[in-house]
Amino acid sequence: MSALQEQRKCSVVRMQCACSYSCMFSQVINGTSCSAVMTSLGSSSSSATEYVVRVPKNTSKKYNIMAFNAGDKVSCSTWTQARMERDMSNRRIYGEEETPDGAAGSEFGKKQREEARRKKYGIVTKEFKVEDQPWILKVNGKAGRRFKGLKKGGVTENASYYIFTQCADGAFEAFPVHSWYNFTPQAKHRTLTAEEAEEEWGRRNKVVNHFSIMLQRRLRQQEQGEEEEEEGEKGGKKKKKKGGRGGDLRIHDLEDDLEMSSDESDGSNGDDDEAKSKAKQDKGPKGKGKKKKKKKGSDLEGFEDSDDGDFEGLEVDYMSDESSSEEEEPEKPKPSKGEDVPKGIDEMSESEEESEEENKNEEDGKEEEEEEDGKKTPVQVEKKKKKDSSGESDSSEDSDIEGEAASALFMKKRTPPKRGGVRGSAGSSRTGSRPGTPSIDSAATSNTLRAAANKLEQGKRQTTVPSSETPATKRLKMEPSPQSSSGKSTPQPVSGKSTPSSSDVLLTEDAVRRYLIRKPMTTKDLLKKFQTKRTGLSSEQTVNVLAQILKRLNPERKNINDKMHFYLTE
């Protein structure tokens, strides 16, 4: 076998192939022994050896590939013992629920009927093939590693893999590879569930000591298991141990620290683990509770940042049924607060018209909500509202628009808090896109418009968002009135502070009485008469004042066309 010896000598130089060949030829030789044998290299030696290749025909053994990832650092030589079996946990998914076969609970011919039914509907259920199930490999017993091997598909489709092993007689035997399994190690350490992971993700900026996360989780679990014990043991000593190792490196708000620190000093030295763990339990849930509260508090704060909070309650009359998932808390108290305002009219009229309007506004509100996530600009929203309104009958169109305007106003106010963090950019972009709205159409606007526009400018400087909304709502109001089309800036003062200078109509009792004597009117009609831009009042105030006036007048009611009309006879 001189050729073989020569090969051994030469192989050392070509390192990448060397080891493989040596392994192949004999199981004992490894790289080091090769190097020991090295002699002068015979250059340009082309020696060839031929080996017979056999493909054994009748083996019952099926060859498979077990693939590990490089990063897992798996070394098969370190395995002392291993067990591998199929993972049958998917079986129940495939085998449908078996109704009791025979005797109680079973039906005659149930199986056949089920099968016929499935065939009829073309439901093809995949069979549970044992061959395709993953493997579970356990290495080195209970304390060792665990792997899961998933079958890789498509291996034998276009080309076949063969395993070439060398036999004792120097010939090669080739065995076809039946299937390929990718083995991945399974974590033995505890992991967080999805909800917990999301929670922690939200807190990642606050928590410095990430190692405490799992500890807290374990404590929480312990606490759940030992709740009674814990309660019984709320002694002074335990309480003092609040400064457990658990969360003391968390960034608490100052109050937390103050509360804790006083107790910490007492019980931080020389404790047995038991006491400490119990204390940690104590602290754990408490700390968590506080953190949660803090979190909620900060969330609340974030949303109440701007003045918009003041107007949030107004919408309730129209949208009290919905509340966004994000803002359930801030909105819940507000709806109750806001309910007072529209109630005036509600109590007065008890009209279906109101509910009708409500429903319509609710719908609008719903649509508003749905689309809101897509960051609709106010322009689009109003256009949509316009479309909605165009579907209504002519007679009530104006009043509807009025109602819409009111609802639009309310909804506009609501959208900014929803946007939350986005608000800043959105708001700024919105304002940026409308830098010149007050200036455009200045010629066409009246004195009041200009005055209000100036007010708008001021308002803009204070908080970007409300001002950006109001041009939007004003735009809507502008459309009914014959003004120029683009770049509207309506004169509606933001919070009704501006003077009703040169207002054509004043909302007085006399005016209302005049109208009601002349003909029966619905509240919508009345509102239409006292359009906010002409009276100089905000819609909210209009509603208020009108309600009071109606209370005073106490008109008679009549149902015309299913609408509640008021009228006076004098």
Partner: protein, 263 residues
């Protein structure tokens, strides 16, 4: 016999190195045709100026390719196949074998081992791809293959004559005749003795709890009305929330643990 699931680690301990070779489909098909001990060819390993060259030569008798159709003898598989060697890369590839000698003869497995004996044969130390040496022969073979593959699975064919042999008008279908004959000989169902019917019913309900009326008629061979009367005595008709309405025994008649109570 070793424990099921226990992996035989001899291959790993010995660090047996194997090669993983990717072989083209036609070649593996040829290899399956090998006779005798399964010798299929020769592997030649050369060391040429620092590079190892491996090449496989297919045995002469295995070069005939069975293709469907006419061109059987024209095309022959190429004989020379150089191997392209590759490193294993980052992966650790181990080879394990599964010895599934069939569930039926578990005790008497041919190889003397139990079903599903798993053994680790070794580790892959070299990966290679078997490439055919490009030759005229090979090109022809490939052309054939492509032609075969490109044929659509379904194809339309024009017929010379319209098909008139499918459905001929018949006075009465054979199936119908059989059915009527069967019905005639069965005759109308006769009312058997009530006790007998009850016995039959109870034994049926022993097997299953819920029965369709049609199935019961089949089982007892009684006219429907009579059967229903009896059933009304001993059973209840429940809708059960499903489409079919089924009969079941009354609770006092039921005893589904061991024996059945009757009457």
């Amino acid at each position: 016999m070793s424990d099921k699931g226990e992996v035989d680690l001899t291959g790993a301990k010995q660090n047996t190195g194997v090669w993983l070779v990717k072989v083209p489909k036609y070649l593996s098909q040829q290899w399956t045709k090998a006779t005798g001990r399964g010798e299929v060819g020769k592997l030649r390993i050369c060391k040429n100026q620092g590079k190892a060259e491996v090449s496989f030569t297919l045995n002469e008798e295995l070069t005939t390719v069975d293709t469907i159709g006419e061109k059987s003898s024209m095309v022959r598989a190429p004989r020379e196949h150089p191997f392209t060697l590759q490193t294993v890369g980052g992966q650790t590839l181990a080879v394990f074998t599964e010895n599934s000698s069939g569930q039926s003869d578990a005790e008497a497995g041919g190889s003397g081992t139990g079903p599903d004996k798993i053994a680790l044969e070794g580790l892959v130390v070299q990966r290679a791809e078997c490439r055919p040496a490009v030759s005229e022969n090979y090109m022809k073979l490939k052309k054939l293959q492509i032609e075969e593959l490109s044929k659509p699975m379904r194809f339309s064919q024009q017929l010379d004559k319209a098909v008139t042999t499918n459905y001929k008008p018949v006075a009465n279908h054979a199936y119908n005749l059989d059915y009527e004959r069967k019905k005639k000989e069965e005759g109308k169902r006769a009312r058997a003795d009530k006790q007998q019917v009850l016995d039959m019913l109870f034994s049926a309900f022993e097997k299953h709890q819920y029965y369709n009326i049609k199935d019961l008629v089949d089982i007892t061979k009684q006219p429907v009305i009579y059967l229903k009367e009896i059933l009304r005595d001993i059973g209840i008709y429940n809708v059960k929330g499903t489409h079919k309405n089924t009969w079941e025994l009354k609770p006092e008649y039921r005893h589904y643990q061991n024996e059945e109570k009757s009457d």
